[in-house]
């Protein structure tokens, strides 16, 4: 692993409402904004149900663990930049920005960015600290 190394991956194609429902059940976030179409449209005024930001953060996290393994990830931070919706295809780019020595270990700072709408909308940006394999 070296500075500039990059991974790009589509983490979901055509996000389904039932995947959002699965995430609601597993995470314990049953806010009707996420699964209840009449509530989401007529009460909240949204175009449809909105995915949990944490669902996107979870899918992006899989790119990191597929790359270095769970045990090497020391920190993972994300900022939720824009909502994601059913039908969205979400692409993730992870890139090694910096490698530093920390107490005898080599730590890489990996930036992550997730986009929808063919890259036009950044839905999540963040970073992780991983122990260099």
């Amino acid at each position: 692993m070296k500075v500039g190394d990059e991974r790009s991956q589509v983490v979901v194609s055509d996000l389904k409402r039932t995947q959002i429902a699965m995430y609601a059940g597993a995470s314990g976030d049953f806010n009707p904004l996420h699964t209840d179409e009449p509530f989401a449209t007529r009460v909240a005024g949204n175009p449809t149900v909105m995915s949990h930001g944490m669902l996107v953060m979870g899918m992006v996290g899989q790119v990191l663990t597929d790359w270095v393994g769970t045990a090497r990830v020391r920190r993972y931070r994300a900022r939720f930049q824009a909502p994601t919706w059913p039908g969205d295809t979400i692409s993730v780019t992870a890139r090694v920005e910096e490698i530093t020595d920390v107490g005898g270990e080599r730590h890489a700072t990996v930036s992550v960015e997730a986009t929808s709408k063919d890259g036009a909308v950044t839905v999540l940006s963040g970073s992780a600290t991983v122990v260099v394999p």
Partner: protein, 132 residues
């Protein structure tokens, strides 16, 4: 203080919802699923209390809570299926930013997950934002 058992079925259901392999280990964001065990978490149905959303009618808006703006996890070792973690919640920083359409109030909350030996396993930091 409360506890968070790391149960195999729960981990599988969570991994599956991410599109991950159900036996691929505990996902990085799994500590957020402590919501199922958090006595204060508002977004689950509680016995004897009305739940909200659409039924015969589309439902009514509920305020409060704010938007989830940022989330961080720190990991001191991986979570292990079968262990039960002890959970301590504490408030973090608060700050205000001037947004394009007025002031935004940010609130940070920390959740520490400790193992049976009292060692810190993971820390979750949640930042929520409310438009003033």
């Amino acid at each position: 203080m409360s506890t968070f058992p790391i149960e195999e079925g729960h981990v599988r259901a969570f991994a599956r919802a991410l599109g991950a392999a159900p036996d691929g280990g505990v996902p990085l964001t799994f500590p957020i699923a402590y919501a199922h065990f958090d006595p204060d978490w508002p977004l689950v149905m509680r016995p004897g209390q009305p739940w909200h959303g659409s039924g015969a009618e589309p439902g009514v808006k509920k305020g409060g809570g704010g938007l989830h703006a940022e989330q961080e996890f720190e990991y001191f070792r991986p979570l292990r299926v079968g262990e039960t973690l002890t959970v301590h919640k504490r408030p973090g920083r608060t700050w205000t930013k001037e947004g394009r359409s007025g002031a935004l109030d940010f609130t940070e909350r920390h959740t520490d997950f400790l193992d049976a030996e009292g060692e810190l396993v993971a820390r979750s930091t949640t930042v929520t934002v409310v438009k003033r």
